[in-house]
């Protein structure tokens, strides 16, 4: 019983202290009662660091470059393969060193295309992962309200309108 009475007393003291000091705290923070010190609070996306931007650009560049190389060799290998591929009817051609060289070129281009496009895919994946990892958090921004009132004058038909704002 005695303990309960002490608890009630302490809670009452804390509540009373809070009520008394609340306006003082607001004043000290430049809070909602402070004249001419109000701020606009907003959220905005943060920006990546220079290193992160360079890394991302490099990865995109590597993706495009290896993709372009791979695509070139892909078409090259397709063209060469079409020259010598045969099924069904006899071509009436003799398999000589020239055709063998063409085949080797087609295989070489196909291998280069496979490696290049594989690398391009890997770079693309790395680009996406890096983009996600380096995604900046939302940051809270503060902007001071305009503290000086600016008068404005606008002409109207048959006269003009003047306006003036005040903050308080």
């Amino acid at each position: 019983m005695r303990h309960k009475s002490i608890s009630v007393l302490i809670a009452g003291a804390v509540l009373a202290f809070s009520i008394v000091t609340l306006p003082l705290t607001a004043q000290a923070d430049g809070g909602y009662f402070s004249k001419g010190e109000k701020q606009l609070v907003f959220k905005e996306a943060g920006s990546r660091s220079r290193t992160e931007r360079i890394t991302l650009l490099s990865l995109v560049g590597a993706t495009l470059l290896t993709g372009a190389v791979g695509t070139y060799y892909l078409f090259d290998s397709q063209s060469l393969s079409d020259e010598i591929s045969a099924s069904g009817m006899h071509t009436l051609k003799t398999w000589d060193q020239g055709l063998e060289d063409t085949r080797l070129d087609a295989v070489r281009s196909s291998n280069i295309a496979t490696v290049s496009l594989g690398m391009s895919g890997a770079f693309a994946a790395a680009t996406i992962i890096t983009y996600m990892i380096t995604q900046p958090d939302m940051e809270v921004g503060y902007q001071d309200w305009q503290t000086k009132a600016i008068p404005s004058i606008a002409p109207t038909q048959g006269g003009l309108v003047m306006s003036q704002g005040w903050s308080f």
């Binding site: 495009l64 290896t66 993709g67 398999w95 087609a106 196909s110 996406i128």
Partner: protein
């Protein structure tokens, strides 16, 4: 995730799926080249008795080489005295004589004999011999010999540029054939150096002799 980031990922992967574009070559679509050259996974069918030229086929379809039966009737003819007698060749004949033959190995030499009985009085008379053989096995050479065995002419390659038969052709075109007895000697061409490193030192052939004028 930003939508535009899919583009650099999707394009390479789609292209990658199309990459498997290496040459695909089925059996019996190409003649064997010199040195029995064939596309990978195919082999030269040197034992093919159905086709004059050799074709690239599956390795399990390859038979060992043997001279076709119809070429055996001229053997033995390794010595000049054993030459197959083709008789007299006239004047102005486009095809005077035609014969299938075979060189079975290093030691095999074929001889053919013909006689020019009299002077040919046509314009630009010649004795012309054409030897055609498949490219896949060892190349052959042909020599024109006089009565004493002296070599008068040696064949030269005369395959047409547009030839699509899988064969090579060598020719002797001699304008200096006076009346007399001549022999043709056919053997492996040692200078050609296309005998599959010694594994295809044989071939069969078709010999055509003509006596054109003009």
């Amino acid at each position: 995730m930003h939508r535009s980031l899919f583009i650099p990922l999707v394009i390479p992967l789609v292209a990658l799926a199309l990459v498997s574009c290496k040459p695909e070559i089925s059996r019996n679509t190409y003649f064997c080249g010199p040195d029995s050259l064939c596309p990978p996974n195919l082999a030269c069918q040197l034992g093919d008795n159905e086709s004059f030229a050799y074709n690239c086929v599956l390795p399990r379809e390859v038979d060992a080489f043997s001279c076709p039966e119809f070429t055996a009737d001229t053997e033995p003819d390794n010595e000049p005295e054993q030459a197959r007698d083709m008789g007299e060749i006239g004047c102005g004949e486009q095809v005077q004589f035609q014969n299938w033959g075979c060189i079975a190995d290093d030691s095999d030499v074929d001889h053919f004999l013909f006689v020019r009985p009299s002077e040919c009085n046509g314009a630009n008379p010649r004795a012309k011999a054409t030897l055609r053989f498949p490219l896949g096995a060892a190349p052959l050479v042909m020599e024109l010999l006089d009565e004493t065995g002296q070599v008068l002419s040696t064949s030269e390659v005369c395959t047409g540029e547009q030839d699509s038969t899988g064969t090579e052709q060598v020719c002797i075109d001699n304008a200096d054939v006076t009346p007399g007895t001549y022999r043709l000697r056919i053997s492996l061409d040692e200078a050609a150096n296309a005998d599959c490193d010694g594994d295809c030192r044989f071939n069969h052939y078709l010999l055509v002799i003509a006596s054109p004028v003009t």
